[in-house]
């Protein structure tokens, strides 16, 4: 890679710590990727600022993570891409185990709609002001969140119905 993308990314980190000093918890690079961990309250402010001022117009992915810790158990990672500056930034937010919820970023990137639904489906993290927060893959009446660590590998027996094998019986 040329030096300019890294340069624009470190510039972004510098500016975000300057403009949103109270929001930024940490900023670091690991394995060639740049991460920015912020307070959940300033998620919308930082995200829209990154989009407007630093051209992170493309939200490539949203990932959930169960850290299985007693405080701030869940983490949501936003994979942002700037096509103009040819660089990628991961924004991380943590939230608590009890009724985990975050603000929805669908107002900033409409494509976040299904991605947030998937995180909700797998981890049970609610996204406030999401236009249509339903489960993505699992049945609507499914009671569990399968990617949480305490969920058994083979699922809960009987929680997803199998077809009736005696169709003439009823």
């Amino acid at each position: 890679m040329s030096s300019s993308p890294a340069g624009s990314l470190s510039n972004t980190i510098e500016e975000v710590t300057k403009h949103h000093t109270s929001a930024v918890i940490e900023a670091y690079t690991s394995s060639g990727d740049t991460f920015l961990r912020i307070e959940k309250e300033s998620l919308l402010a930082v995200c829209s600022w990154l989009k407007e001022e630093h051209d992170f117009v493309y939200l490539a992915d949203i990932v959930g993570a169960d850290r299985f810790t007693s405080d701030e158990r869940f983490e949501v990672i936003y994979n942002l891409l700037s096509l103009k500056n040819q660089c990628r930034l991961f924004v991380k937010v943590r939230c608590d185990e009890d009724a985990p919820s975050l603000e929805s970023v669908t107002g900033i990137w409409p494509g976040a709609n299904w991605k947030e639904r998937e995180v909700y489906d797998m981890f049970g993290i609610r996204f406030e002001n999401h236009p249509d927060l339903r489960r993505m893959y699992l049945p609507e009446d499914f009671q569990y969140y399968p990617l949480r660590k305490e969920f058994p590998l083979l699922g809960v027996p009987g929680s997803i119905p199998l077809p009736n094998t005696t169709p003439d019986a009823d």
């Binding site: 699992l138 699922g155 077809p163 169709p167």
Partner: protein
């Protein structure tokens, strides 16, 4: 013309069962239920090199109403299981089922909450094929086993 010269003026005796089973065994048309990569091997099984038509499985029928053997090829999710069972219920009797590959037989490597751990949880499977994916020869072998099974069945009801 062949059989007359062998028999001369004589005649053959057989059971109706044997005759019906012989006909059924050599005309078992598959219903391809291709759910994953096993379906590729199933196509080879039907194609000219392995040629399932030699065994009377002349043609894959994509309508359940025209088929006799359902080959479940691939891993089946709980969501898909309802569709598979519905297709199975629409197949006319008599019908047989092959679970092709490790996933259809046991869930295979998909040890997960979303995958049915073996299609025999909701289908009456007659033949299981091991392998991931199985070779087309193995599918032929399963078909021959199904033929053996058909030939031992009592297909005609006796008078009560």
């Amino acid at each position: 013309m062949g059989i007359e010269s062998a028999l001369g003026e004589g005649y053959l005796t057989s059971r109706v069962d044997a005759l019906v089973n012989w006909a059924r065994a050599n005309a078992a048309w598959p219903m391809p239920m291709g759910l994953a990569c096993c379906a590729i091997e199933m196509m080879a099984f039907a194609g000219p090199k392995y040629d399932a038509a030699r065994f009377g499985s002349e043609v894959m029928r994509f309508s359940p109403r025209q088929s006799d053997v359902m080959i479940v090829a691939g891993w089946c999710t709980y969501k898909m299981s309802h569709a598979v069972r519905r297709i199975w219920d629409q197949m006319p009797d008599p019908k047989w089922c092959i679970a092709m590959g490790a996933c259809a037989s046991t869930g295979g490597m998909h040890r997960s909450y979303g995958v049915v751990q073996g299609v025999d949880n909701f289908l009456p499977v007659d033949a299981y094929i091991s392998g991931c994916p199985p070779r087309p020869d193995a599918v032929l072998h399963a078909l021959m086993k199904i033929q053996d099974k058909i030939k031992t069945e009592h297909s005609v009801l006796l008078d009560a």
